[in-house]
């Protein structure tokens, strides 16, 4: 059921306008904060206002301009897009509050918040893109807008990281463009509104090239190994940026792109016939394990988080590549689960860095006593990642395993298990250090993060818990994900 | 450097040698060049343009637009040279290049005749070889020669300062004026009226163009020379 409605267009426009106003605000801190916060709130409200409709199965569409038949800029808020938009606009609100606290006293804050808003604008644009062209438009704009955030410090290290980031993502963008052009040539349309547009008779080599180009193109941002090289380096960015990069903006857009390619460009049926998804699934499995294994060896907190992200993202890719409804549910849900859990961790790490100046795992002894609330939030996120039942991560792993069995690939259940073990192996030492060791310098008393940092942390952690506990409650992300899966597979997903 | 230059020349020569093979023999009256457009000009040129010198007819009438652009090209050359930074200050330049007395004498002697010849070319151009361009070139050559004799300042006095920009622009401006007149009279840009009662107008238009080309061309050539010398 399609309804023409400007809201899918307005959602990215709000952040875009906000960026303009923030730039215009210049050094005036009040207006900068005012615009950032109010735009975040308005946008969240706007996206939420579409939620009831989406749950009823309504799809909001809005065509902006059609250059020629089949090529144009158009927006469409389907269930999956709504899911992603909800995650990103919620987190934008939280991250904005956090960033206002975190960035206090930093130079060039207007530039920072302006591009921050632009990033979110493009992320929502990606979520609501009706066709691959619009998708590509925002995908590339996102690259441009994150660059100033990555190099914000303007140190040689930051500039180098920015260069690497650009090199990777731009080449990825090139592949996306290539795949899009070829897909248009083969299909005559680029719409993402159908379960697959490519005709089966387009020729095996052509289809393989399109698949490879698009997966590589999106895989760069999704940090599928071996395309992940930029991500650990990009850690030089200020922590709110890392949080945003890892949780919603960049990597998630890549993963979102991969799933769009699988469900909407190729379609499940065609991919099952072609068998292209199997190697992708293996690659994802490899990334899950290798990412975790490397994370285990990292002492620098943010780098450990980075490799964890690489690993976690491939859950989404794996879920999509398994081509079964359960796996798809897991993939979509993990978009939210990983986002909230990971952003919690980043917020905490940032808070630790701001409050105590510590950046390494080995320095964290006794931190649990000093920052009890923050570390509690961290622990919740860690438990979620490990996949302890009742936490959000468990839901993902459960459905992913079901999906793997559904697909007749039980080996991936093993991958899940090993990955959980590895997750435990690199998160629990931190928790252990924080709570059960004394700091070398003796007890320094409670020294919690300032409220502007703490409040978002706690909200995010609470949400992680909520996601795990309320799976069956209507209106929560799970139900949205189910609507999305039903559309992709054209069958009602069975709730076990 | 020399090596590849030679190679390039050999390649071009070979190409031209092959190309020349297929060309129509140039002296043959049945060559395409003589039968299509050319034939019509020979047949009806005099009647259509009122000029017995068909080269002039083509230049001023049939392909007058080319000629208009061409006078713009000379004007462009002048603007180009004037726009360049001066090589040195005027004070450094010698008043005139050293010239032998014999040359000076010959130039003085010939100058009036060159002028006369140029004027003859100009006004007899429609019936005999010659016309605006040739006259202009001769005027230009005359300016150059006089410049050698009279020195820069002397030559500069030949064309009054205030009139000079107008004279330099004379050819393009006259062309535009004639084109506009033709537009008004015949409805087409640069059209020459063909009605018998307007023959006098047609001839006046052609003459105006010839004179403008001669004067404008001559002045510009002379100015080019002076600017270069300065």
């Amino acid at each position: 059921m399609g309804v023409v409605d400007p809201r899918p267009l307005l959602a990215p426009l709000i952040s875009f306008a906000c960026a303009g106003l923030v730039f215009a605000a210049g050094r005036n801190a009040f207006w900068r904060r005012f615009w950032s916060l109010s735009a975040a709130a308005v946008k969240l409200a706007l996206v939420l206002s579409m939620l009831p409709g989406t749950l009823r199965g309504v799809v909001y569409t809005f065509d902006v301009v059609a250059f020629t038949p089949g090529i144009g800029i158009a927006f469409r808020a389907d269930a999956y897009g709504m899911f992603f938009a909800l995650v990103s606009s919620t987190l934008w609100t939280l991250t904005t509050i956090y960033a206002i606290g975190y960035m206090r006293g930093e130079p060039d804050r207007s530039r920072f918040f302006g591009f921050f808003a632009l990033c979110v604008s493009t992320t929502v644009g990606v979520a609501f893109a009706e066709n691959l062209l619009t998708f590509f438009l925002f995908y590339e704009t996102l690259t441009i807008c994150t660059y100033p955030l990555v190099v914000h410090a303007e140190t040689p290290e930051a500039l180098r990281a920015g260069r690497v980031y650009l090199t990777y993502t731009l080449i990825g963008g090139g592949f996306v463009l290539l795949g899009s052009v070829m897909a248009f040539d083969a299909a005559g349309t680029l719409t993402l509104a159908q379960p697959g547009i490519l005709p089966a008779d387009a020729g095996g080599a052509t289809l393989a090239t399109i698949f490879a180009a698009l997966i590589v193109g999106f895989g760069v941002k999704a940090a599928i190994m071996p395309l992940h090289g930029w991500l650990p380096l990009a850690m030089v960015a200020p922590t709110p940026v890392s949080a945003l990069l890892h949780a919603v903006a960049v990597v998630k857009v890549g993963a979102f792109g991969v799933t769009r390619v699988i469900y909407n460009v190729f379609g499940v049926e065609l991919l099952q016939d072609l068998g292209f998804a199997t190697p992708l699934a293996w690659l994802a499995a490899f990334t899950i394990l290798a990412g975790s294994a490397i994370a285990l060896t990292q002492d620098h907190l943010k780098r450990r988080l980075a490799y964890s992200t690489i690993s976690q993202l491939s859950y989404i890719v794996l879920g999509a590549a398994l081509l079964t409804p359960f796996a798809a549910t897991a993939a979509i849900l993990h978009v939210a689960h990983q986002a909230f859990a990971k952003i919690t961790m980043f917020f905490v790490v940032g808070a630790i860095q701001r409050t105590t100046g510590k950046t390494r795992v080995s320095e964290l002894a006794g931190i649990g006593a000093r920052m009890p609330w923050s570390m509690a939030a961290f622990t919740i996120a860690a438990l979620s990642f490990v996949g302890v039942p009742l936490f959000a991560g468990f839901v993902t792993k459960w459905y992913l395993s079901l999906g793997a069995l559904q697909a007749g690939a039980g080996v991936f259940v093993g991958v899940m298990l090993v990955s959980s073990l590895l997750n435990a192996a690199y998160w629990f030492p931190i928790v252990h250090l924080a709570y059960f060791r004394r700091a070398d310098g003796g007890d320094e008393g409670v020294h919690e993060a300032p409220p502007l940092l703490l409040v978002p942390i706690l909200i995010c952690a609470a949400y992680v818990l909520l996601l795990g506990l309320t799976t069956q409650v209507p209106g929560m992300p799970f139900s949205v994900a189910q609507v999305a899966v039903e559309r992709a597979f054209a069958v009602p997903a069975v709730v076990p | 450097m020399k090596g590849w230059a030679l190679a390039l020349v050999v390649v071009v020569a070979a190409t031209l040698a092959i190309g020349v093979q297929g060309l129509p023999t140039h002296d043959a009256p049945e060559a395409p060049i003589h039968d299509h457009v050319g034939a019509r000009y020979v047949e009806r040129g005099v009647e259509e343009t009122g000029m017995r010198n068909l080269v002039g007819a083509v230049l001023l009438n049939y392909r007058g637009f080319d000629t208009m652009v061409e006078v713009v090209v000379i004007f462009t050359a002048l603007a180009a040279v004037l726009a360049l930074p001066r090589a040195g200050s005027v004070a450094d330049a010698p008043e005139a290049l050293p010239v032998s007395p014999v040359v000076l004498f010959v130039v003085r002697l010939l100058a009036p005749f060159i002028a006369l010849f140029a004027i003859a070319l100009l006004f007899r151009g429609h019936v005999s070889p010659g016309g605006g361009f040739q006259a202009g070139a001769l005027f230009g050559a005359l300016f150059v020669a006089l410049g050698l004799v009279l020195g820069r300042r002397g030559a500069a006095r030949l064309v009054p300062e205030r009139a000079r920009p107008w004279l330099q622009a004379a050819a393009p401006l006259t062309f535009a004026a004639v084109a506009a007149l033709g537009w008004a009279l015949t409805g087409s840009f640069l059209g020459f009226p063909q009605a018998p009662e307007l023959h006098a107008v047609r001839e006046a238009m052609a003459l105006a163009l010839e004179v403008a080309i001669a004067v404008g061309g001559g002045v510009i050539l002379g100015s080019l020379f002076q600017t270069m010398e300065a």
Binding site: - | D27, G38, P85
Partner: protein
């Protein structure tokens, strides 16, 4: 003129073209290069004028006593235009050359390439 089936005029024109081209590319002196360019240009003019001629033809002057066949007037008009164009280009080129000499003190290309 075409003894042995070879059109000598065209051959001469092609030869002139090549001589000019050689001067343009092989000579290092800017003025010689410019002379070469002029030789090339005139060779093309010669080609155009020659192509418009006709065996035993008169100039295209339709005065009393003139007999057909006539040489074609179009090539001649083209060349008249062309000559003026070439002299314009030459004048500009010479002005530039004078400037270059005033600044660098040389007209040899290989020396100019070494200067900043």
């Amino acid at each position: 003129m075409a003894p042995f089936g070879v059109d000598l005029d065209y051959v001469a024109v092609a030869a002139l073209f090549c001589i000019g081209l050689y001067m343009l590319v092989a000579k290092s002196n800017l003025l010689k290069k410019l002379l070469g360019l002029n030789v090339m240009e005139t060779s093309v003019f010669a080609f155009i004028v020659t192509s418009g001629m006709v065996e035993g033809g008169d100039p295209p002057l339709l005065v009393a006593g003139a007999q057909p066949p006539f040489a074609s007037p179009i090539p001649q008009a083209m060349v008249l235009t062309g000559i003026v164009v070439v002299v314009s280009v030459t004048a500009v080129a010479l002005s530039l050359i004078v400037q270059i000499y005033a600044h660098y003190g040389t007209l040899e290309v290989d020396e100019l390439k070494e200067r900043p």
